[in-house]
C-alpha cells in the first residue's frame, strides 16, 4: 500500500460531504492513506468555489448533499465547464438508491463510486484500483483535455489491445468521442456490439441517442421505453424521450415525461428549466412555476444561473396574482417581485435584462390592481427601452402589452405602428403582433382616436393647423376612427388650404376622407358641416 501513500501524497484532493462528522472522517481517512493536501467542502456551492480556484487531482464527493445540488451535478458542471480535467479522478460516495442516476450518466460519469458505509480497507482498495486505472487511461484523457478528439480513437484501440480487461471502460470513452465528432453511425455500431454481449445501461442510452441524432425517432423511442422499464430511475432516458416528443410537437407528452424524471431526480437544473419552459408553453402555470422556482434555487450558485429562470419564474406566477389580494395572490406577487428584484440586482449591468425585469414588475402590479405602481414601472421600462440601442421586436411587443395594461393606448398604438414597419420580426413575433392588434378592441381604438381628436381640436382652435392636421392624420389612420373625427380632419385640411394655398396632395387626401364618409343622411347632426365642406373642396379643386 506504500504505492497509494506515494500517489496520494502528491495529490491535491477535495472531499465533499454535507455532514460535518463525515467530512472530517473522510479527511482523516485520506490522511491515514497518505494524503497531504485535502480541502473539504460542505455543499455544492462551496465545492464549486473550491474547484474554481484550485486544480484538483482527486475529488471524492457524497452523492446526497442535503438540500442543494447533489454530487452528480457538481461533477457534471465541473466537467461541462472544464473546471476539472479529464485526468482528474472523481469518486462518488452513494447510497444504493442513487446508483442508476450516477452509473448511467452518459457524458459525465464518475470514475468510480463507493457505497456507504465503507471501511478504510474498502477505500484503500478502491483508490488504489481507480488511480491505477486512471493512470493507464492518462494518455487518452490528456488528449481529451487538449480536445484532440481524433487522436482519442486510435489511443483507445491501442489500449484495448494492451488491456483487454479495460475494454468496456475504454469503449465508453470511444462512444462518447464518436458522438462528440457527430459520427453517430460509428457510435451506433459500437453500442450495438456492446449490447450484443450485455445490456449495459449507458450503451442502451448511447444507442438511443445515436438513433435520435440519425432521426430514427421510432427506434430511439423503443430503446428508451425498454430501458426505462428495466431501469426506472435512469433519468437521462426521460430527457431524450422528451426531446423525441418535442420533435413530434407533442408538448403535453414532453411535459409528462420530464415530470416523471424530476420526480426521480429533482435537482437537475437544466431539466427543471426545460420542464418550466415546456409547461409554460402548455399554459400549465402551476407546473411551470414549481419548475422555475426549483431552477432559480438550484442554479443560484451554479454555471447554469440564468436571468431567464428568474424572469420566467416571475411570469409563471402571474396566473395566481389578482386584485382580490387573497393569500395565494399575496404570496405569488411577493415571490414574483422578489425574483424580479434579484434579477435586476444580479444583472444590473445588462440593460436588456433590467428592461425585461421591469416589464414583468409592471405586469405584476397591474395584476394586483395597483395601477399607480404599474404605471410607474411602465414608465421606467419605457425610458430603459429608449436607452437600448436596437431594441428587439420582442422587447417592443412586451412594452406594447404593458402600455395597454396601464391604459396608455396612445403609446401602445404608436409603438405598434413602429413594430408594423419592422421587417425582422420572427414568425412567433408576427403572430404575437397580430394577436395584440386583434386584442385591442374597437372601443379602445375609438377611445384612442377620440383622445387624439380632442387634442387636435385644441390645436385647431388655437390656430396651430399644422399640429392639428398631424394629429388628425394619426387618428384617421385607424379605420375605426368615427365620422366626427373624419369630418374634423377634413375641416382642418380645408382651413389649412384656405389660409395657405391648396395643394394637389392635400386635395387628394380630402377626397379620400370624403369617400370614407360616403353620403351623410340629412338626419345626421354633421350633415350641414359636411355639405359646406364638400362645396369648399369643389372650390379648392377648381382653383388648382
Amino acid at each position: 500500500m506504500s504505492q497509494l501513500d506515494a500517489i496520494l501524497g502528491k495529490m491535491r484532493i477535495l472531499a465533499i460531504d454535507d455532514l460535518v462528522e463525515s467530512r472530517s472522517a473522510m479527511k482523516k481517512m485520506l490522511m491515514i492513506l497518505g494524503a497531504n493536501k485535502v480541502d473539504i467542502a460542505m455543499d455544492g456551492d462551496e465545492a464549486t468555489e473550491f474547484i474554481f480556484n484550485n486544480s484538483y487531482d482527486l475529488i471524492i464527493s457524497d452523492y446526497n448533499l442535503g438540500r442543494g445540488r447533489d454530487g452528480q451535478q457538481i461533477l457534471e458542471e465541473a466537467r461541462f465547464t472544464r473546471q476539472i480535467k479529464a485526468t482528474c479522478t472523481f469518486v462518488m460516495l452513494t447510497g444504493e438508491n442513487a446508483m442508476d442516476m450516477v452509473m448511467g450518466a452518459i457524458e459525465y460519469e464518475p470514475d468510480d463510486y463507493v457505497t456507504k458505509p465503507f471501511t478504510i480497507d474498502v477505500m484503500r482498495q478502491r483508490l488504489t484500483r481507480i488511480l491505477n486505472v486512471k493512470e493507464q487511461l492518462k494518455g487518452i484523457n490528456e488528449s481529451i483535455d487538449r480536445q484532440e478528439r481524433r487522436k482519442v480513437l486510435p489511443l483507445c484501440d491501442a489500449l484495448i489491445e494492451k488491456q483487454p480487461r479495460l475494454k468496456l471502460r475504454i469503449e465508453r470513452i470511444k462512444g462518447r468521442t464518436f458522438m462528440a465528432l457527430k459520427e453517430f453511425k460509428a457510435a451506433l455500431d459500437l453500442y450495438q456490439n456492446i449490447l450484443k454481449e450485455r445490456e449495459v445501461n449507458w450503451a442502451l442510452l448511447g444507442k438511443a441517442t445515436c438513433l435520435f441524432n440519425l432521426e430514427d425517432f421510432d427506434a430511439a423511442e423503443k430503446v428508451l421505453e425498454h430501458t426505462i422499464r428495466e431501469h426506472p430511475k435512469y433519468v437521462q432516458c426521460y430527457d431524450l424521450l422528451c426531446k423525441i416528443h418535442l420533435k413530434r410537437k407533442k408538448l403535453q407528452s414532453a411535459q409528462n415525461t420530464l415530470l416523471r424524471a424530476t420526480k426521480v431526480s429533482p435537482k437537475q437544473v437544466l431539466r427543471q428549466m426545460e420542464l418550466g419552459r415546456i409547461a409554460y408553453a402548455n399554459k400549465d402555470f402551476a407546473v411551470a412555476e414549481s419548475a422555475f422556482k426549483m431552477s432559480v434555487k438550484l442554479a443560484r450558485h451554479s454555471c447554469y444561473r440564468s436571468v431567464k429562470n428568474y424572469l420566467l419564474f416571475a411570469k409563471s406566477l402571474q396566473h395566481k396574482i389578482t386584485p382580490q389580494n387573497n393569500k395565494d395572490s399575496r404570496a405569488g406577487s411577493q415571490e414574483a417581485l422578489k425574483a424580479v428584484e434579484e434579477a435586476k440586482t444580479l444583472y444590473k449591468d445588462n440593460i436588456d435584462y433590467v428592461f425585461e425585469a421591469t416589464i414583468i414588475e409592471s405586469t405584476t402590479y397591474s395584476n394586483l390592481g395597483k395601477e399607480a405602481d404599474a404605471k410607474a414601472a411602465a414608465e421606467r421600462a419605457e425610458s430603459l427601452l429608449m436607452e437600448i440601442n436596437e431594441p428587439s421586436g420582442a422587447m417592443q411587443l412586451s412594452m406594447v402589452n404593458v402600455f395597454l395594461e396601464t391604459k396608455q393606448h396612445a403609446k401602445a398604438q404608436d409603438l405598434l405602428g413602429t413594430l408594423g414597419t419592422r421587417k425582422d420580426l420572427s414568425r412567433a413575433e408576427t403572430r404575437e403582433l397580430t394577436r395584440t392588434k386583434n386584442e385591442i378592441s374597437e372601443v379602445v381604438v375609438r377611445e384612442y382616436t377620440t383622445e387624439i381628436n380632442d387634442q387636435a381640436i385644441g390645436f385647431f382652435e388655437r390656430g396651430q393647423l399644422n399640429q392639428a392636421i398631424e394629429l388628425f392624420d394619426k387618428a384617421t389612420a385607424y379605420k375605426e376612427a368615427g365620422h366626427t373625427v373624419v369630418v374634423n380632419a377634413i375641416q382642418a385640411k380645408i382651413a389649412f388650404m384656405d389660409q395657405r394655398e391648396p395643394t394637389k396632395t392635400m386635395v387628394k387626401e380630402v377626397d379620400e376622407l370624403m369617400s370614407r364618409l360616403g353620403n351623410l343622411p340629412e338626419s345626421d347632426e354633421r350633415y350641414d358641416r359636411w355639405l359646406q365642406l364638400r362645396k369648399a373642396q369643389e372650390r379648392l379643386k377648381r382653383s388648382i
Binding site: 455532514l19 447510497g95 438508491n97 482498495q125 450485455r198 426506472p232
Partner: protein
C-alpha cells in the same frame, strides 16, 4: 394521502448508514491512537469484530429490502472482483481467524451488483465458519459464452444430503437456510441475455463443501 412507509424507512436507513459510517471512522481513529498499546488490542479486536458484523447486518437489511421491492433492479456494473472480495477476506482472516487462499488475477473484473455480491460472499464465508470450517479456497472460472463463477471450497463437514437435493432454498429453518436463500436471491437478481444467475452447492470428494456463485 397514504402513508409512505418506504420513504420513511429509506430516510431512517440513510441516517443509520451515516451513523454507521461515523462509527467506523471513530473506530479507525481509536485504532490509530491505540495501535502501540498492546494491553488494549484484545478489546479493540472485539469492538472491531462486532462493528464489522453490525455493518454487515445493515448491508444485509438494505439488500433484503432491495430484493423485496417489486421495482428493484440490481445495479450491475463493472467491478474488480478483488476490490469486493479483499475487505471480506480481511474481515474473516483478521476477526474470525480463518485461513483464506485465492487464485484470482488482480485485474479480473466482472459485471455484477457489488452490494449483492458482498452479501453472497459474506454469507457463504459465514456459513462455512459456523459449520466449523477453518480454511477456505476461492477461485474464479470464466467460460467462452461469457458466463463466469466464483468457486468457494471449505474444509468443514460439508452439506447434509437433504440440503444437496433441495431445488430451492427457503427462509424457513435454520440460520444456514437464510444464508443460502439470500445468496440465491442475490444471484438470481443478475441477468444477461435472458439467463439468470444461480447458486450451486456440492460436497468435495474428500472433505468439505463447495459453493459456486454462478453469474450469467
Amino acid at each position: 394521502m397514504a402513508f409512505d412507509y418506504n420513504t420513511l424507512l429509506s430516510a431512517e436507513l440513510h441516517d443509520i448508514k451515516n451513523q454507521m459510517q461515523a462509527l467506523l471512522s471513530a473506530q479507525e481513529d481509536l485504532n490509530e491512537v491505540l495501535k502501540d498499546k498492546e494491553q488494549y488490542q484484545s478489546y479493540i479486536a472485539n469492538v472491531n469484530q462486532h462493528s464489522q458484523l453490525l455493518n454487515h447486518k445493515l448491508l444485509e437489511i438494505l439488500s433484503i429490502l432491495k430484493i423485496q421491492n417489486q421495482a428493484f433492479t440490481p445495479c450491475e456494473d463493472e467491478h474488480w472482483l478483488l476490490d469486493t472480495l479483499s475487505p471480506i477476506i480481511h474481515e474473516f482472516t483478521q476477526l474470525h481467524g480463518m485461513r483464506i487462499t485465492h487464485h484470482i488475477d488482480k485485474d479480473f473484473n466482472g459485471f455484477y451488483d457489488e452490494q449483492l455480491l458482498e452479501i453472497a460472499l459474506h454469507n457463504s464465508f459465514m456459513n462455512a465458519k459456523q459449520i466449523g470450517a477453518s480454511q477456505l479456497q476461492v477461485s474464479v472460472q470464466e467460460f467462452s459464452d461469457g458466463h463466469w463463477l466464483i468457486d468457494i471450497q471449505d474444509d468443514g463437514p460439508g452439506f447434509k444430503d437433504k440440503q444437496l437435493y433441495e431445488d430451492t432454498f427457503t427462509i424457513q429453518g435454520t440460520k444456514n437456510g437464510l444464508g443460502l436463500y439470500l445468496i440465491q436471491q442475490a444471484l438470481m437478481a443478475h441477468k444477461r441475455n435472458g439467463n439468470t444467475g444461480s447458486i450451486h452447492i456440492k460436497n468435495n470428494p474428500t472433505q468439505g463443501a463447495c459453493v459456486q456463485l454462478i453469474f450469467p
